[in-house]
């Protein structure tokens, strides 16, 4: 841990400039992830620019019927919002499945998707890690891999993205509003996070100094029937082994449409396009759900590890997806 400066510029624009001009500067929001990294030596910024007061803490209605969630909105406030609970239950459930009440009171909409992997080697500066120290190697390969990826990993990094909220946002076709030194831009949420490839040090497409100002969720009728199902090693207060965010539109026993994203499986929240494709037009049965899981997991590659590895994630994902879709279809029958 090393000393750092702390700044609260007057507005977001100044904050962006302050970070952009210093390679060792970084934004600070709730601090629930970043402060841990300062303590662990995983991050050693020279300047922290506190943005919690510089971005919106409001949830506003958008003209297209969607919502704009300010980057400073706390996770607990977002989960409690009536509009979110009614129109996007998957998002409220994902938030409530994450961390603890105390942490959710601090954690923000901008910070949550940018939290970094919980890979134990990433968090331990005495071990090699390509994400933390590019080129040093990946200690996770053959190490403790229970929490690691089965989809989209590379030989350089097999980490997973830990956020629950991000999985729901990926399913909801959310859009990220970004302010950079050169102005504003919008990024589809599913394109925010990257796969590790040979640049595992990167988690997202954001450039240094780019600030998330808000996240938009579009008007999405299918999302009123949606769920977040998180499976973890203890009943609460643990990161996901796997998770499923799903929206399902079923009529007369037939699936009309689906939105699905998977958590705990890849370096990014994994939008399951193949599974969605397989479900469209299929009967709402366990067989269809299983076929959808098989389609999505066709390229899944488990990791070996001294802890037993993570091959179990493939049947676990299948079971979790089947169980979630079955429950959602059941809601339709009841309605």
């Amino acid at each position: 841990m090393r000393p750092f400066a702390y700044a609260t510029p007057p507005d977001a624009r100044e904050a962006v400039l302050a970070v952009a001009e210093r390679p060792d500067a970084t934004f600070l929001a709730g601090g629930t992830n970043l402060v841990d990294h300062l303590r662990l030596g995983v991050a050693a910024p020279g300047l922290l620019v506190d943005v919690t007061a510089l971005t919106s803490a409001e949830i506003d209605d958008l003209s297209d019927g969607g919502l704009r969630i300010g980057a400073a909105v706390r996770n607990s406030d977002l989960a409690a919002d009536r509009r979110v609970r009614a129109r996007y239950p998957v998002l409220a459930e994902a938030l409530l499945a994450g961390a603890s009440g105390q942490l959710r009171n601090m954690a923000t909409t901008g910070g949550n998707p940018l939290q970094r992997t919980r890979c134990v080697y990433f968090q331990d500066v005495t071990t090699p890690c390509n994400k933390r120290a590019p080129g040093s190697g990946c200690a996770a390969l053959g190490g403790a891999t229970r929490n690691h990826a089965v989809l989209g990993a590379s030989e350089h990094c097999i980490a997973t993205h830990p956020s629950d909220m991000a999985v729901a946002l990926a399913a909801l076709d959310a859009r990220v509003q970004v302010l950079g030194p050169d102005g504003e831009r919008e990024i589809p949420f599913t394109e925010l996070h990257t796969l590790p490839g040979d640049t595992p040090e990167r988690d997202t497409v954001l450039e240094h100094g780019e600030l998330i100002t808000a996240i938009d969720v579009p008007d999405l009728p299918i999302a009123t029937r949606s769920r977040y199902r998180k499976v973890r090693d203890r009943a609460s207060y643990a990161f996901a082994l796997v998770s499923v965010a799903a929206c399902l539109d079923v009529a007369g026993g037939e699936i009309r449409d689906a939105r699905i994203a998977l958590g705990g499986v890849a370096h990014k929240p994994w939008r399951a396009h193949r599974a969605e494709e397989a479900l469209r037009g299929a009967p709402a049965t366990d067989e269809s759900y299983r076929a959808a899981a098989a389609a999505e997991l066709a390229d899944a590659r488990p990791q070996e590890g001294f802890d037993g590895g993570n091959a179990f994630k493939i049947p676990l994902l299948t079971g979790t997806l089947v169980s979630t879709l079955r429950a959602l279809a059941g809601e339709e029958t009841r309605a």
């Binding site: 000393p3 919980r118 331990d124 090693d233 207060y237 001294f306 676990l316 979790t320 169980s323």
Partner: protein
């Protein structure tokens, strides 16, 4: 037989005397001790598991503003005794395990100390290490004794013949993983060395410990000091679970640091991560169980062969096989312990060492045997109830396992259980139930002294005992009051300071028995001297005496635990809607505090069943899940209905209180009960802990 005290305060449901201070945050813990102008000590740990330190570059660290000293092997004082390699801090360049202390920094703020510690550059000559435990290693050895002083191996009759000839046999291997104690309060010390004209100086340690006198004894030996030169103070402890039962390297480090800066207090608190290599842990165990039975379930033979680890630099041999020695009747018996000495941190005590891991294999094996015989597992245990202690042939001072099993079965609704596994499905969950037995020996330490003074209309007793959250501050006045025949409100018992008379460690669930007995003796002396109408200032002291009944009787607490387990049919998630424990632990001195001990220990047992597992990476030799986000202990949502009960047990032999110790028995057997219930739910037999969802996942 001892005369048991007439219970007046004993047995009352009194609230913790220290509760208010703790709730208000005014109870002062070791690291918060108010001292003037303290320095902060941060350690540097080895990043190799075996080898030698070849160079320590302290230039950058020393150059940092605010750094007062950087201590390395080159300049740390030479200790008077280095016999205990775990405690020989900064005495040599050899590395015995990854995480060993190789340097330390002292600075005016914790932040600077931390930064400076990161700037110390250590170079190593690394050697190949070996951190992989397995039962087929060719270098396993037999320790001279297992913790604390049991013989490693025992045998009676002919176990091999029993296995060859019995109509029903079982031969299975069970494992428990490495566990870390993880008390809430990290290991912490505030230390002050005061050089004094003429008398060689004085060391004060405000240490988070389960025993101030044991710490003093170790520290005086290591530093070559006299007992009068060292005072250890510890009013409150945020949990220890055995990891603060003996001083670890951090205490020696704190004292070394303080002596390097005479007159200046030093604070040293381990981080959670550091606790995973420096504060002890429970060894992983491999337990091969053999049971030879008649068709009616009576055992003809029982054997356990244990393989476990210790560190290369210091031996600790967990007594995993010991509970099997006295648990069930059988004419042919064998227990063995074999150790692998690895390049790993030093294992030590963790709540119910021996009994806790050592009742996993046997109690799952009994469940498997019951299934093989088509018998109710409760009934199987009752049929094997011994008349006398199987190992020695001595009677038990009291043994109420059967009563616990019956009472538990009654409360739990065990009667009519369908013993078939994997046949109950409710709302997408497989449902099952399981049972296991608990046992914990009743121990009394040989040494402890108390004084009683009459002061301003109140009785004030003093004894250097420790309250690690267990309730000693409250229970000891209850005992002293009944010994005095005085209202408990008029009695104070002061603890946690070596200025009080010497007390034994809070370990082995022996505290109440040992310190309580010393108090009773002190009161007896006091009454003999001053009668019932003492004057202000009257004082007497007394010490715990050997209990002759210990020669004649085997003394143990027993219990039975019942679990209901649900396993999700799609995901394998494991939940425990019900966990009931019934214990026979002598007379319960304070029901409220005893219940929290039982419930707390059962909760820890639940963690052992479902979550706890230190992942020691054999490639590096360190535990990689070294924080509480990754090393899981139970959350409320893991269990719904958690109950602890006890049966009234009148044991005239154990001690004047009639008490047996309640701190550890609750963790014994829990994991087996849960694993047995998970089998009953799913049909998947679980012989390795923890029972994580991948082990019961359908289609795995």
């Amino acid at each position: 037989m001892t005369t048991t005290l007439e219970p007046r305060a004993i047995g009352r449901d009194l609230a913790r005397r220290d509760g208010g201070a703790k709730v208000r945050g005014t109870a002062v813990y070791a690291d918060e001790t108010p001292v003037a102008d303290p320095l902060f000590c941060r350690i540097v740990q080895a990043t190799v598991a075996r080898g030698r330190v070849t160079e320590v570059d302290t230039a950058d660290a020393s150059a940092l503003d605010g750094v007062v000293a950087v201590l390395t092997t080159a300049d740390a004082e030479r200790l008077a005794s280095t016999d205990d390699a775990e405690l020989a801090v900064l005495q040599g360049t050899g590395i015995g395990f990854r995480g060993q202390i190789v340097a330390a920094v002292l600075a005016g703020t914790d932040e600077v100390a931390r930064e400076a510690a990161d700037l110390v550059r250590v170079t190593y000559a690394e050697e190949e290490h070996d951190a992989r435990l397995s039962a087929d290693r060719d270098d396993l050895y037999t320790p001279e004794s297992v913790n604390p002083t049991y013989p490693p191996d025992t045998a009676e009759g002919d176990m091999a013949a029993a296995m060859a000839e019995a109509p029903v046999t079982l031969d299975r291997t069970y494992t428990t993983p490495m566990h870390h104690n993880n008390p809430m309060e990290p290991h912490a010390t505030t230390a002050l060395w005061e050089p004094r004209e003429g008398d060689g100086g004085h060391l004060t340690l405000w240490d988070s410990t389960q025993g101030v006198h044991p710490v003093r004894q170790t520290v005086t030996q290591i530093f070559g000091l006299e007992p009068e030169q060292v005072r250890v103070i510890c009013p409150f402890v945020g949990g220890g679970f055995g990891s603060k039962g003996t001083p670890h390297a951090n205490v020696v480090m704190a004292a070394l640091a303080a002596r390097a800066v005479p007159g200046r207090p030093v604070r040293l608190a381990l981080t959670r991560q550091q606790m995973f290599s420096l504060a002890g842990y429970r060894t992983p165990t491999i337990q091969r169980m053999q049971l030879a039975a008649e068709r009616d379930g009576r055992l003809r033979g029982i054997a356990i062969d244990v393989v476990e680890q210790t560190s290369r630099i210091k031996e600790f041999a967990e007594q995993t096989g010991v509970p099997t020695r006295n648990m069930y009747a059988a004419p042919n018996r064998r227990t063995t312990h074999r150790l692998a000495a690895l390049d790993v941190p030093v294992p030590s005590w963790m709540r119910a060492p021996g009994e806790c891991p050592g009742m996993f294999g046997p109690e799952v094996a009994m469940d498997e045997l019951a299934t093989a015989l088509g018998l109710d597992p409760v009934e199987l245990r009752i049929r094997n109830e011994p008349e006398v202690a199987p190992e020695t042939g001595k009677p038990f001072s009291s043994r109420n396992l059967v009563a616990c099993l019956r009472e538990g079965a009654e409360r739990f609704g065990w009667a009519g259980r369908d013993h078939r596994p994997g046949v109950r499905l409710e709302d997408g969950w497989w449902v099952g139930t399981g049972v296991a037995a608990s046992v914990y020996p009743t121990m009394r330490m040989p040494k402890s002294t108390a004084t009683v003074t009459y002061d301003g209309g109140r009785y004030v007793a003093r004894i250097g005992a420790a309250d690690l959250g267990t309730g000693a501050w409250t229970v000891l006045p209850q005992i002293a009051a009944d010994a005095l025949g005085a209202p408990v409100e008029d009695v104070d018992v002061l603890i946690g300071d070596t200025d009080h008379p010497e007390a034994s460690v809070a370990g082995g669930s022996s505290g109440t028995t040992t310190w309580g007995s010393a108090l009773v003796e002190a009161v007896r002396e006091f009454r003999d001297k001053y009668g019932d109408a003492p004057q202000d200032g009257d004082a007497a002291s007394g010490s715990v005496k050997p209990n002759p009944a210990e020669e004649e009787y085997v003394m143990s607490a027993f219990g039975a635990q019942f679990a209901e387990v649900r396993v999700h049919t799609d995901t394998g998630e494991v939940r425990v809607p019900r966990l009931y424990g019934v214990f026979a632990a002598g007379r319960i001195v304070n029901p409220r505090l005893a219940r929290s001990q039982f419930l707390g220990a059962m909760t820890m047992g639940l963690g052992m069943a479902l979550h706890e597992q230190s992942l020691l990476d054999p490639r590096t030799g360190h535990v990689v899940n070294h924080d509480l986000a990754e090393y899981h202990v139970p959350a409320n949502a893991d269990v719904d209905d958690l109950q602890a009960h006890w049966i009234d047990e009148d044991d005239p032999y154990v001690n004047a209180m009639g008490s047996k110790g309640v701190g550890e028995i609750g963790i014994v057997g829990t994991a087996a009960a849960v694993a047995n219930a998970a089998w009953h739910a799913t049909g998947v037999r679980l012989r390795d802990l923890p029972v994580t969802l991948d082990r019961v996942l359908p289609g795995r």
